[in-house]
């Protein structure tokens, strides 16, 4: 008797969930082997993520202003950025990191012989647990500033905010997939990762400060406005819906293209073994 499509997908999901649960447990156990180090790492991640809010605080402390934005509004943007990038590191960092380390050490073959698609396995096998502190920090900043902003509750805006965060996450993961795929050609791609990471820094501040060119670039070509600026604009009730929608579409297209690029790149893999 043939299985229905629904039950096949259900089976896959259960399999993925089991792998993810196992991987999460393993990663947690690895971190817990050095508990003090784990605690220091969490503290360090929080500390690093507080640097940008500190700069913003000092700007406003000196009676200066980022044009068009109050302190709490910028902080809300930053909180959203920290939340999105935190989830990205938690879920997607190893698409880039593991691919690189396995290709460099010549161990990628062991991913290929498993009965699961290579990218799915890489995605599931190593959640970056330490990044959860970044996620928690992001949530705290977002909730704290949301209450301080005295915004009238608007369910539609909150739903759109959450959808934008999801698309921003897909966009960030697409960047990881692109870099991971480039590793099949260049082997050492850590600098490309750094390059992209530095570009993401533009999203820490409102993209409106980068002039018309920068604004268009970060909306329609490399949509890092989705990481904080547009979600914040939506919550503040001043978003240009068409622009937000177009930017989100660009983010989704990049995600789809990245998957095709990965499939293209993996065909160029040459095993180190005999």
């Amino acid at each position: 008797m043939e299985k229905s499509t629904g039950s096949i997908y259900g089976g896959w999901c259960m399999k993925w969930f089991k792998i993810y649960k196992k991987s999460f447990g393993l990663q947690l156990a690895t971190w817990m082997a050095y508990r003090f180090n784990f605690f220091l790492f969490l503290t360090a991640i929080v500390l690093f993520n507080l640097l940008a809010p500190l700069v913003v605080y000092l700007i406003y402390y000196n009676n200066l202003t980022i044009p068009g934005w109050t302190f709490n509004q910028v902080l809300f943007l930053l909180g959203t950025y920290i939340l999105v990038t935190g989830i990205d590191v938690f879920l997607g960092a190893h698409i880039e990191w593991t691919t690189r380390s396995l290709l460099k050490s010549g161990e990628f073959d062991k991913i290929l012989i498993r009965p699961i698609k290579p990218m799915t396995l890489i995605f599931l096998r190593k959640p970056e647990i330490a990044a959860l502190s970044e996620v928690v920090l992001g949530i705290i900043i977002v909730l704290y500033t949301y209450t301080n902003l005295n915004i009238v509750f608007n369910l539609v805006n909150i739903l759109v905010y959450l959808i934008l965060i999801f698309i921003a996450l897909l966009f960030l993961i697409s960047l990881r997939i692109f870099i991971g795929a480039l590793t099949f050609f260049f082997i050492e791609t850590s600098a490309i990762g750094e390059f992209v990471g530095r570009f993401k820094n533009f999203a820490i501040y409102p993209i409106s400060i980068y002039g018309t060119m920068g604004y268009k670039l970060f909306t329609f070509i490399f949509p890092i406005g989705l990481l904080g600026f547009y979600p914040a604009e939506v919550i503040l009730g001043r978003a240009a819906w068409a622009t937000v929608g177009l930017s989100a579409v660009v983010g989704l297209i990049l995600f789809i293209v990245s998957i095709f690029f990965w499939e293209f790149a993996i065909k160029h893999y040459v095993s180190a073994g005999g």
Binding site: F36, N37, V55, L58, P67, F195, N201, F202
Partner: protein, 266 residues
Amino acid sequence: MTFLRKVLGIGRWQYGFEVAYRFNRIVWASSLPIILLATYFLWTSIYAYSGQTIINGMTLNELIVYYLAVQITIMFSASMVDAHIPRLVKKGLLIRYIVKPFNFVLFWFIRSVWRSLFRTFAVLLPLFALAFVIIDFSSITFNIPGYMLSVILALFLNFFYIFSVAMICFWVKEYEGIRVIRRGVANVFNGAIIPLTFFPLVFQKAFSYLPFQYMLYVPIQILLGKYSYEQSITMMLIQLMWIIVFALISIFAWKKAQAQFMGVGV
């Protein structure tokens, strides 16, 4: 002569690391101006909106030069010593270095200096390619000799400070968390993220009693001509004092660490 040959040998060795993945290194070097560009846009909009030409004693032009100098100074004075030694200790590979006929601390210092020179050289071109577009250098009177002297002192200070902290790795099972905290703390207190004049006065006062601002902020202030001749000399003497403090700690800690170290298979 033998010493010089050893120094050049370490340089050749480090050069091998630096050019191992050339494409990767080129991408890395060309990514550094991105931070400067983001900072430029941020502060240009803030200065324009405020209507002020001088904020906390700095013009916009000086502030952008400040951030350019931050990148170059960090590149020149940074040390990777606490990324390498803890890894060697953890893997039991430190023995390879201890048995070499060369002073251990001196070896890592020379390696750090070579690395700094190669990397500073690599980033100068992309950084200045952008800087010449966004900065009006003619409007600032630079104290370049003072900066050169102070930044060399900063190189020594950074190395001995980081080496001292790295010695903790002999007593803990995992060092990486301490390294990340060490970097984060330095970034706040040394003026890398924002000039220290933007902090409340009480913090500025407190920072002057810590070694961090002498690793970055002070050399840059000397470069921008913010200190008089006498003040510059005083600052460099304080740098020298901190170098002596951390050099002594480094030597003492290294002696203790050797007693603590257990090499695999020795």
